[in-house]
C-alpha cells in the first residue's frame, strides 16, 4: 500500500517560516469554517470521524473534547504535547519543523470547540529547531489576528504559550506534563480526576499530541463521515510512522491505518540494506513490543496493537537485522527507563534497578532459571501495577521478548549449553 499523504501533503511545498505562504495554501481556512459552526456540532463531526489520539494511548478524541466542553469551570486550557521523547519517534518534530501552522490551526479548532482560552505548547527541550519555528509561527499568527482576542472577527479569544522540557522523558505523560507546566517537577498525578476535569492549575484541560490536533482541520474540511472512510473501520485516518533502524530509507511516512508493518518497511523503507535479514522489529518506540520477522504482516491499527497489551499508537517502527543482539537492545532500553523513572511509585522506582540486573545476567550469558522466573514476574508486576504509562509500558519489550524470543533467554543461561 502506498503512502496516503494528508497531514504531510504540503510538506516540502510550504515555507514553514512564512504565514503568508501558509495562508495562500489554505491554512486557517478550516478554522474559519469551524468558527461558524456550533461547538457541539463540531465535536459531533470529530465523533463521526472516530479520531483517536496519536500520542500512544489512542483515546477517542471526541470524548475528551466533550468532557472538557461540558465543564463549567473556567479558564479552560488546551495543551499540545510536543514532548516527543520516546526513542524512535520523530514524526511530531517533522510536522513542527515543516508545517507549524497546520498544528496551530488544529489547536485553535480544538480550543474553540471546548471553550478554552489559553493554550500551552509543550516542546521537548532538545528540539531546538522546532522550538524556534513554533515560536516564529506563533508570533506570525498573533500578528495576523489568528491568536489573541476576536480571532478571525469572531468572539473567540485564545492565546498560546510555548513551554519547553528540561530533558525529562516522563513529562510526555499527561499529568507529569501538567505538573511541569505548573512549575513543579515532572511527576504524574493520581487519576481520577482526569485532565478534562482537573488539569492545568486544577482547571479543565484538553491535552493531546501534535499529530492528533493536526487531523482536526481535515475533519472540518471533509466532514467526519468522509474522514472515517480513510483507514480501517475502527482505526480511521492516517498514521505518521517514524521508520528507523536497519532500513534503506528511514524517515517519516504517512500511511492509512490498516497498512502492514511489512509494507512500511519493505515498500516504503526499501527493506534492509546489503542483503541482511530482519531479525526483530520494535513497534511504538522503546516502550513497545519487540516482534519477530514472521509477525510483520501485522496491520497498523489500534486494535491489533492493543493485543500486545501495549500502547504503540505513537507509530515508530525500529528495524533490527540479524547482526543485532536482543540483550544489548534490552539492556539499552532498561537502562534508559531506569534513568527516566520519576521515582514516585514503587514498581517503577525500585523495579527498574532489578530489571536491569536481571537482563544483565542474560546479557553476560550468566542467566539461570530462577532469574528467568524473577524477570518475567517482575516485568509483569511493573506492567500491571505501575502508576503511569512509563512503568506500565517500559517492561513490554521484555515481556514480548519472553514470548517471541524465549529460546534466546535459554541460550544465555550459564549452564544452558548455549553461546556465552
Amino acid at each position: 500500500m502506498p503512502e496516503q499523504k494528508m497531514l504531510t501533503k504540503r510538506i516540502g511545498d510550504i515555507n514553514p517560516l512564512s504565514i503568508k505562504d501558509a495562508l495562500e495554501k489554505g491554512t486557517y481556512k478550516q478554522l474559519e469554517k469551524a468558527l461558524k459552526m456550533n461547538r457541539i456540532d463540531l465535536i459531533d463531526e470529530v465523533e463521526k470521524a472516530n479520531l483517536r489520539g496519536r500520542g500512544g494511548a489512542g483515546f477517542p478524541m471526541h470524548i475528551k473534547m466533550m468532557s472538557t466542553a461540558k465543564q463549567e469551570s473556567t479558564p479552560k486550557y488546551v495543551v499540545c504535547n510536543a514532548d516527543e521523547g520516546e526513542p524512535g519517534n520523530f514524526k511530531d518534530r517533522y510536522l513542527m519543523e515543516n508545517d507549524p501552522h497546520i498544528i496551530l490551526e488544529g489547536i485553535l479548532i480544538a480550543a474553540y470547540a471546548t471553550g478554552a482560552s489559553k493554550g500551552y505548547f509543550y516542546i521537548r527541550g532538545e528540539y531546538n529547531q522546532a522550538i524556534s519555528i513554533m515560536k516564529w509561527a506563533i508570533e506570525e499568527a498573533k500578528e495576523n489576528g489568528l491568536l489573541g482576542t476576536g480571532i478571525q472577527g469572531s468572539d473567540f479569544d485564545f492565546d498560546i504559550e510555548i513551554r519547553t522540557g528540561a530533558g525529562s522523558y516522563v513529562v510526555g505523560e499527561e499529568f507529569a506534563m501538567i505538573e511541569s507546566i505548573e512549575g513543579k517537577s515532572g511527576r504524574t498525578r493520581v487519576k481520577p480526576p482526569f485532565p478534562t476535569d482537573e488539569g492545568v492549575f486544577g482547571k479543565p484541560t484538553l491535552l493531546n499530541n501534535v499529530e492528533t490536533y493536526c487531523n482536526l482541520p481535515f475533519i472540518v474540511d471533509m466532514g467526519g463521515e468522509n474522514y472515517s472512510k480513510i483507514g480501517t473501520k475502527t482505526s480511521t485516518g492516517t498514521k505518521l510512522i517514524s521508520l528507523s533502524g536497519n532500513v534503506t530509507n528511514p524517515g517519516v511516512y504517512e500511511v492509512p491505518f490498516g497498512t502492514t508493518v511489512r509494507e512500511v518497511i519493505e515498500d516504503l523503507g526499501g527493506g534492509v540494506p546489503n542483503e541482511h535479514k530482519i531479525k526483530m522489529v520494535q513497534l511504538g518506540g522503546a516502550c513497545g513490543p519487540i516482534i519477530p520477522e514472521f509477525m510483520l504482516d501485522l496491520q497498523i491499527d489500534f486494535e491489533r496493537f492493543e493485543e500486545f497489551e501495549s500502547k504503540t499508537g505513537a507509530g515508530a517502527i525500529i528495524v533490527m537485522d540479524e547482526r543485532q543482539d536482543l540483550f544489548e537492545v534490552l539492556m539499552r532500553i532498561v537502562k534508559f527507563f531506569q534513568h527516566e523513572s520519576c521515582g514516585r511509585c514503587t514498581p517503577c522506582r525500585e523495579g527498574h534497578v532489578h530489571l536491569e540486573k536481571l537482563v544483565h545476567s542474560f546479557f553476560k550469558g550468566d542467566g539461570n532459571p530462577n532469574e528467568l522466573y524473577s524477570l518475567e514476574s517482575l516485568a509483569r508486576v511493573m506492567h500491571h501495577s505501575s502508576l503511569c504509562g512509563l512503568g506500565q509500558s517500559s517492561p513490554i519489550s521484555i515481556i514480548s521478548s519472553l514470548s517471541y524470543f524465549r529460546d534466546a533467554f535459554h541460550d544465555r543461561m550459564a549452564f544452558g549449553g548455549g553461546e556465552k
Partner: protein, 574 residues
C-alpha cells in the same frame, strides 16, 4: 448508594467512597502502606492493588472510587503476586536490621511483609547506606529506613503548610529530605514531629532521650523530678492496647513512680499559672494599648514557625513561657529553695506529646540559673511507653497513684490545654471573671471547641465585645497571620497550636494517631475537665499560695524573670 461486587459478593457503598473503604466494610482487608487516613491520597506504594473487571492493569483500592456495576477482586494470584513483589522490592532497598530498629514490632512495613508471608527476597539488596540527620535535638532522620511513601511530605506540605520535606532526585535515587539535601536544622523545620507521627517505619523518629533519663534516675546524687503534660494522660493507654478516648492519669503516675522518679508533678499546675500570667498580659495590653492581637506562646512548634517565617510578628506573641518551661523555672528556683536541694543536683524531665518541646528545653533563654537548663530532658509519650515496657512495668495492672505536692493540685482549665481551643477557653474563664468581677454562669465556651481549622468567638469583657480566634495547624495559623498583616484582623487574642487537634494530636503521641482518634482524645480531655472540683485557673488554691509565698503578683518582677521570655527573628539561610 452504589452497588458493586467485591470477590463475587454484592456490596453497597456510599457514593464517593473508595474500593478500600467498601472492601473494609464487608470484611475484606486490603493491605496498604502509603495510605494514611486524613492525608491526601497519592497511591504511590501500589500495595493496595486490586483487579477491576475491564482493566488489564491493577488499580489501587485507596484511590479508586466505587462505581455502579464495578467488579473488584482483592485476592487473586495476580494481585497477591503484585503485592508480594512490590513489598520485596521495598525490602531490597531498606535497612532490614529490624531487631535493632526503633520500630521493631511496631512497624507497618514489617507487618506488611509478615501479612504477605514474605520469608525470602528474590531481589538482591540494593541499599546504599546514607548519612543520618541527627543535627537537631528533636527529630532523627534515617534515610536508610525510608521507603518513599510520601506521608511525611504530605503532612508537612498539606497539613502544616511548612514545605520542609520534599522528594529529591528521581528514579531509584529519589530521596525524601529537606531541600538541597540539607539538615532539618538548616531548613525551616518547626520540629513539630508530625512527619515522625505518620512515618510507617523508623525513617523519621523523635530523637531518643530515654538513656539520658535512665542515667539520671540511676545516679544516686540526682534528685530526678518529672512533669506530665495534660495531653499524655488521655493517650498513654493507647500504647498499652487501649482504645482512644480513655484517660489513664492514675496509672501514669504510678508507672512514673515505679520508674524511679523522685517526684511526679503535673504540668497542669503551670498551665494554670500560664493562664494567670497570660490573662493578665492580655488585659495589660488592652489597657495600655500594647500590640494586639496577642498570640499564645505555649506551642514551641508555633514559636519556631513565627521566628522563622514571621520575624516581624514577634511582638504579637505573648511573652509567657510555655507551661513546660514555667515548670522548669519554678522547679529549679522555688521548689529547689523550698525543698533545700541544690538546683545543680536536680534533674528535671518532662513527658510531652511533642517533639518540638525537646528543642524548646534547650533554648538559651530557658536558664533560670546561669549555665543550667531548666528542663534537662524531654520524652515523648512514645518514649515513656518504651521505658515503661523496658522495665517490666505492667501498665494495665497498675493501681492509681497521685501527683506529689507542691505541683500536683490543678484545675479543669489546665486539663483542656491539650485540646485545640483549650488554652483560649481556660484564659476566657479567668479573664472574664477577673474583668467582669462576677462568676460566669456557664464556664464552657463552646464556640472555641471542636475540630474546625479556625474557630472564633466573641466574649463580653467589661461591657465590651471582644473577638478571639483559635487555629490549629500552621496552615490555618497562616490564614490568621495574613489577616493580621493585612490589617484586617479584629481579634484581641489568638490561640495557635501547631498539631492537628492541639497537643493531644502532637508529633510525639502514640503511632496511628488519626483525626478520629484526636477527636476521641479531645472528648476525653473535656471529661477530665468536667470531673475536676476546680475548673478555673485563678481558683487553684496552690497557685494563689505560690503568688503569696514566692511570686508576689502576676506580671511582677519575679514573674518577669522566671516566667516570661523573649523571641529572636531567625534569618533564613539560603
Amino acid at each position: 448508594m452504589i452497588n458493586l461486587k467485591i470477590n463475587g459478593i454484592d456490596v453497597e457503598a456510599k457514593e464517593g467512597s473508595t474500593v478500600l473503604d467498601a472492601a473494609k466494610e464487608y470484611g475484606f482487608d486490603i493491605p496498604t502502606l502509603c495510605y494514611y487516613p486524613d492525608l491526601r491520597i497519592n497511591s504511590d506504594c501500589r500495595v493496595c492493588s486490586v483487579e477491576v473487571a475491564g482493566s488489564n492493569h491493577l488499580m489501587t483500592a485507596c484511590s479508586t472510587p466505587v462505581k455502579e456495576g464495578m467488579e473488584v477482586k482483592t485476592n487473586t494470584s495476580k494481585v497477591y503476586n503484585a503485592r508480594k513483589t512490590i513489598t520485596e522490592l521495598i525490602l531490597a532497598n531498606h535497612d532490614t536490621n529490624c531487631t535493632t530498629c526503633a520500630r521493631n514490632l511496631n512497624c507497618e512495613l514489617q507487618d506488611l511483609a509478615n501479612t504477605l508471608g514474605i520469608e525470602e527476597n528474590r531481589f538482591e539488596k540494593v541499599l546504599e547506606m546514607d548519612a543520618v540527620d541527627d543535627h537537631n535535638p528533636s527529630i532523627y532522620r534515617n534515610p536508610n529506613r525510608c521507603i518513599k511513601c510520601g506521608r511525611c511530605i504530605e503532612v508537612c506540605k498539606d497539613v502544616e503548610g511548612t514545605y520542609v520535606l520534599e522528594n529529591q532526585g528521581r528514579s531509584n535515587e529519589v530521596k525524601v529530605a529537606p531541600k538541597y539535601g540539607k539538615y532539618l536544622s538548616e531548613e525551616d523545620c518547626t520540629f513539630c514531629g508530625q512527619c515522625a507521627s505518620v512515618c510507617p517505619v523508623a525513617a523519621i523518629t523523635e530523637k531518643d532521650d530515654t538513656q539520658r533519663v535512665f542515667d539520671a534516675i540511676n545516679n544516686p546524687n540526682k534528685h530526678v523530678i518529672v512533669q506530665v503534660a495534660p495531653a499524655i494522660r488521655v493517650a498513654i493507654g493507647e500504647e498499652f492496647g487501649h482504645k482512644s478516648g480513655g484517660q489513664w492519669t492514675g496509672q501514669l503516675i504510678t508507672a512514673l513512680k515505679r520508674l524511679g522518679f523522685d517526684r511526679v508533678f503535673d504540668t497542669d499546675f503551670t498551665a494554670d499559672l500560664t493562664i494567670i500570667e497570660e490573662g493578665h498580659e492580655l488585659l495589660e495590653r488592652v489597657k495600655t494599648g500594647g500590640t494586639l492581637p496577642m498570640m499564645t506562646s505555649c506551642c514551641p512548634g508555633w514559636i519556631n514557625y513565627a521566628e522563622q517565617q514571621h520575624p516581624d510578628m514577634l511582638e504579637h506573641l505573648s511573652t509567657c513561657k510555655s507551661p513546660q518551661q514555667m515548670f522548669g523555672a519554678l522547679a529549679k528556683t522555688y521548689y529547689a529553695q523550698s525543698s533545700g536541694i541544690d538546683p545543680s543536683d536536680m534533674y528535671v524531665v518532662s513527658i510531652m506529646p511533642c517533639t518540638a518541646k525537646k528543642y524548646e528545653a534547650g533554648r538559651e533563654e530557658m536558664q533560670s540559673n546561669e549555665g543550667m537548663q531548666d528542663v534537662d530532658a524531654v520524652l515523648t509519650t512514645r518514649e515513656l511507653a518504651k521505658m515503661i515496657r523496658s522495665q517490666g512495668i505492667n501498665f494495665n495492672n497498675l493501681k492509681d497513684g497521685e501527683f506529689d505536692t507542691p505541683f500536683g493540685i490543678t484545675t479543669g482549665a489546665a486539663a483542656i490545654f491539650g485540646a485545640t481551643g483549650g488554652v483560649m477557653e481556660a484564659a476566657l474563664r479567668t479573664v472574664s471573671e477577673v474583668v467582669n468581677e462576677k462568676p460566669l454562669e456557664k464556664i464552657e465556651f463552646e464556640d472555641v471547641r471542636g475540630f474546625d481549622g479556625i474557630k472564633e468567638a466573641t466574649v463580653e469583657l467589661g461591657g465590651n465585645p471582644v473577638k478571639v480566634a483559635v487555629a490549629h495547624t500552621l496552615k490555618h495559623a497562616e490564614t490568621l497571620i495574613s489577616e493580621v498583616k493585612a490589617g484586617k484582623s479584629d481579634y484581641a487574642f489568638i490561640e495557635v497550636m501547631t498539631c492537628p487537634g492541639g497537643c493531644i494530636g502532637g508529633g510525639g503521641q502514640p503511632y496511628g494517631t488519626t483525626n478520629k482518634k484526636r477527636i476521641e482524645r479531645i472528648e476525653s480531655t473535656y471529661r477530665v475537665d468536667d470531673s475536676m472540683p476546680v475548673r478555673k485557673s485563678h481558683e487553684n488554691p496552690t497557685i494563689q499560695k505560690l503568688y503569696d509565698d514566692f511570686l508576689e503578683k502576676p506580671l511582677g518582677k519575679k514573674s518577669h524573670n522566671l516566667l516570661h521570655t523573649h523571641y529572636h527573628p531567625r534569618h533564613k539561610k539560603v
